[in-house]
């Protein structure tokens, strides 16, 4: 067993404290052009990330050294020994402020099952494939190509303090391109998706929406002047904006001072007309493929309220940064739950707005709060009309919109959150296409 050989190597290298993260990945990949399978791939990998820790007693305070190395599966004993000796020597030379290591927990971890557990791999893939192609050809819009990945990822974390935890999760993802129109007038839209369940209905709907969007992009006009119109985002685009809040709660970012938040800070604004932000960080959520019951150190994760009534009440901190900040550790919680807003999605949509559906590449810089991108398809809703537009760009800032964000009452599972389906951002700059 590789882990036992690594532990022997650690002892031989004189490492008193260490952590091993084993990841096993067994996956299947299908690549389609149109409806035809182009290439099939099978992937079986194992990787070992090992951290070696040292303790020093530099006056006036204890210090901690750390070095993270990779041991490739198949490495021989001599190679393992050589890597770990180097890691131990490097860690010993680092004299960072001391911090404790993760200790084992006797509590039961959050667990979540998946419908893929009871399906043979090929059958699970086929169900997802069939769901994705269910609406192919809708109103003349078709799937140009599809890449589909499904893998079972098994993780085990062992450390010198007695942590020994393991879990397995299904990770599915892919991308597809849809076309509408013919000849030189043909257009395409690109889309990514993630899944952890064979939830065929949601996946079918994801493609259907893109097929409709492709059809609309075909008749879209150049984005005109939209001064004063708020921006409506939904789905994964909205989640990217919401992610600003979780990312700025990160204890590491607070400790190093590049976060915009600190404990007690108001993330909204006095007199703001938007919904108050209420956010919990959580380990797992049904339908969210990026969850985990433990963080990367093997710390048992539990859901925590982090922003209450618009105020930061808890940071998301690893054991290390919790110690530095003199706070209780929460572990690095990967998902978040953002509370619903006061208005129904329908009410948000009834206000004049520009709804961006796809960008060339939407960005949200969670350090500066800036967001934006070039518009591939948006709809202008004003004067009772809904006009598809393309070209031009949208830029804005989460910080400029503090306290003004309106969130929908309806929530849904996304890649890393359970969060409002849509949000309305009042202050943005829309650059026309011409």
């Amino acid at each position: 067993m590789m882990i036992e050989r690594i532990v022997s190597g650690l002892k031989a290298a004189g490492a008193e404290d260490w952590k091993i993260v084993e990841k096993r990945n067994d996956g299947l990949e299908w690549y389609f052009i149109g409806k035809t399978l182009d290439t099939a791939r099978s992937v079986t990998t194992a990787s070992y990330d090992v951290s070696v820790y040292s303790e020093g007693s530099v006056v006036p305070a204890k210090t901690r050294g750390e070095c993270a190395v990779k041991i490739q599966s198949g490495a021989g004993d001599a190679e393992i020994a050589s890597i770990l000796r180097r890691a131990a020597a490097t860690a010993a030379a680092m004299d960072n402020p001391w911090y404790p290591l993760t200790e084992p927990s006797s509590e039961a971890p959050a667990r979540i099952s998946s419908g893929f557990d009871s399906l043979p791999r090929g059958e699970g893939m086929e169900r997802v494939r069939a769901a994705l192609y269910a609406h192919d050809g809708l109103d003349g819009a078709t799937i140009n190509s599809l890449e589909l990945f499904l893998r079972k990822v098994s993780t085990r974390i062992v450390n010198s303090r007695g942590v020994d935890v393991d879990w397995s999760l299904w990770r599915g993802n892919g991308e597809f391109i849809v076309n509408a129109g013919r000849g030189s007038g043909e257009i395409e839209l690109y889309s990514e998706f993630e899944f952890s369940e064979p939830d065929t209905e949601r996946l079918s709907e994801t493609v259907r929406r893109q097929l409709v969007a492709a059809r609309d992009r075909l008749v879209a006009v150049a984005t005109p002047d939209c001064a004063g119109l708020p921006l409506l985002l939904s789905g994964e685009l909205a989640e990217q904006v919401y992610g600003y809040y979780l990312d700025n709660l990160d204890g590491h970012a607070v400790y190093e001072k590049f976060s915009n938040f600190n404990l007690g800070d108001q993330v909204g604004k006095e007199g703001g007309t938007g919904d108050r932000v209420e956010l919990s960080a959580v380990p797992l959520a049904k339908g969210c493929p990026n969850g985990a019951p433990y963080d990367g150190s093997g710390f048992l994760l539990k859901g925590m309220k982090c922003i209450e009534a618009g105020r930061v009440v808890r940071l998301v901190t690893s054991v290390k940064y919790a110690h530095y900040l003199n706070l209780p550790a929460t572990g690095i919680l990967p998902l978040f739950v953002l509370a619903p807003g006061s208005l129904a999605e329908k009410e948000l949509r009834s206000m004049p707005h520009i709804e961006a559906v796809t960008f060339s590449d939407f960005f949200v810089d969670t350090t500066t709060g800036d967001f934006g991108g070039e518009i591939r398809l948006a709809y202008i809703h004003r004067d009772g009309k809904r006009i598809p537009v393309t070209g031009g760009s949208i830029t804005g800032s989460v910080t400029t919109n503090r306290g003004e964000l309106l969130l929908s009452r309806e929530v849904e599972a996304k890649s890393r959150s359970l969060s409002p389906v849509a949000c309305l951002i009042p202050i943005v700059t829309v650059s026309p296409a011409t």
């Binding site: 035809t36 490739q72 043909e186 257009i187 190093e256 590049f258 960005f363 500066t368 070039e374 830029t395």
Partner: protein
């Protein structure tokens, strides 16, 4: 000079790989294996922490590719199992063929006889250097940045090296290469009230420790630029005359006609460029190249991840689109020659047609004359990201910094972030001046869509064109 040594592990595995390939050759129309063993080290310093770790890009593994009745499948594994390797691989490949009954049929994959190796050289071997000395030198750079202004609340200096080792074995080919690339960054965050700005400076190349020499002199100008960003204004949306620095020129080349001529996009009908071969797509003063043999930068190698030798492809000649860049599979589908551009993020990823070193050729103009010719426009100075749109020839660049030019001079006003957009043939046709400078930068990674990241470089001279800014 230090010569990169071959991978000991890959050398140990070669006899088993050769033997397995020989055994598998009897069952398949084509069989090959790519083996990778790439090791890297990263060094990072902030005010509060010093770290030396293995690079996250380190990898070791194998990918077998087989063809049967025209169909192509692959099996990637991180470890060679004990026992009969050929039987193990055949079982997985056959399982894939069984489930891929209706898969597309390709002409026979090529397997021309070749034996070759390349072991690159660097001035100073980073793997034998003292980590503490490297950290101290990085910390000196970080301190210079951090101490320039109290408004700089965070600064980090980092350095990373990768020794990339690969072997490619098929019945008639036996190839081996080992080379080092390096990259370094300085990152800073500045804050004034509620306003936060982030900035970076990057360094890269097929280099060893000599890169540290380049970092130190840039620290103070970089810090001042970061503070300048706090005064950045929103740009008035509109079309402007712009001058792109070599970094941005590379980004334009990369996003405009780099991704647009990746020929796997031709096969899918996703690239308009397929219909424009032989036609004018840019100003007649524009020549554009891509090639792992075209320059010595982070996108250079001897052979690609499908065992094709690297070449240099002239993509645009005198403004006319003349060729695309190909992996083997798309070249077979299109009946063209592979250009040595079949690349994988790692052994466990599929090969696609990908860029290597992409650039616009230098021209004859002087930067001073280019600046003097601008009535009101912007010097596009610092990039954040870019995105391709080969089907509809849109281009999106996000810049963190653009400098205003009025009446031929920089006004001192800066804007950021700026989204630059345009219609690719229009942006390239509007190129009216090209400087004699030439720089390649390889600090970033290129994705296909939003995944499949590979190391590339891009660059060229200063160019003058027109773009929509917002």
């Amino acid at each position: 000079m230090h010569e990169c040594e071959a991978s000991e592990r890959l050398n140990q595995c070669k006899p088993r790989l050769r033997s397995a390939i020989a055994a598998l050759e009897k069952s398949y129309g084509y069989i090959s294996v790519l083996g990778t063993d790439s090791k890297g080290i990263s060094f990072g310093v902030t005010a509060r922490e010093r770290r030396v770790d293995d690079s996250q890009w380190s990898e070791r593994g194998f990918v077998f590719r087989a063809q049967k009745d025209g169909r192509i499948v692959e099996y990637a594994l991180s470890e060679l199992p004990e026992g009969n390797l050929a039987s193990h691989v055949a079982a997985r490949l056959n399982g894939l063929f069984d489930s891929a009954g209706g898969a597309r049929s390709y002409p026979s994959l090529p397997d021309e006889a070749a034996r070759a190796s390349w072991f690159a050289k660097v001035a100073v071997d980073p793997f034998s250097a003292d980590p503490e000395t490297i950290l101290d030198r990085l910390d000196a750079v970080r301190k210079t940045v951090a101490e320039t202004s109290p408004e700089i609340v965070f600064a980090r200096a980092a350095l990373e090296y990768m020794r990339v080792s690969k072997v490619f074995i098929s019945p008639r080919r036996d190839l081996e290469q080992s080379f080092i690339w390096g990259q370094a960054y300085v990152v800073a965050v500045a804050r004034r009230g509620e306003l936060t700005k982030e900035n970076y400076e990057a360094f890269s190349g097929l280099k060893g420790l000599e890169m540290l020499e380049e970092m130190a002199p840039c620290a103070q100008p970089f810090a001042k630029e970061t503070i300048e960003l706090l005064g950045a204004e929103k740009i008035a949306p509109g079309e402007y005359e712009v001058i792109a620095t070599p970094d941005i020129t590379g980004l334009i080349a990369h996003e405009a006609f780099g991704h647009g001529v990746e020929t796997d996009m031709f096969v899918k009908g996703r690239a308009l460029a397929k219909d424009y071969l032989g036609k004018r797509v840019a100003s007649e003063i524009v020549d554009m190249y891509d090639g792992a043999q075209g320059a010595e930068q982070c996108g250079s190698y001897l052979f690609d991840d499908e065992g094709s030798f690297a070449t240099r492809t002239l993509i645009i000649k005198d403004g006319v689109l003349v060729a695309g860049i190909s992996d083997i599979q798309s070249a077979l589908a299109l009946g063209t020659e592979p250009t040595g551009n079949g690349r994988r993020q790692a052994f466990d990823h599929k090969a696609y047609a990908r860029m290597t070193n992409t650039y616009i050729q230098s021209g004859k103009d002087r930067l001073e004359d280019m600046m003097a010719s601008v009535k009101h426009g912007y010097l596009l100075a610092k990039m954040n990201s870019g995105m391709e749109d080969p089907k509809n020839w849109g281009i999106q660049l996000v810049l963190s910094l653009a400098r205003e030019i009025r009446d031929g001079k920089l006004t001192g006003k800066v804007a950021g972030p700026v989204v630059c957009a345009g219609y690719v043939p229009q942006v390239l046709s509007d190129i009216s001046m090209i400087s004699g400078d030439f720089e390649l930068h390889g600090s970033g990674y290129c994705g296909k869509g939003h995944k499949e990241y590979v190391k590339v470089s891009a660059g060229g001279p200063y160019i003058k064109t027109r773009m929509r800014l917002g």
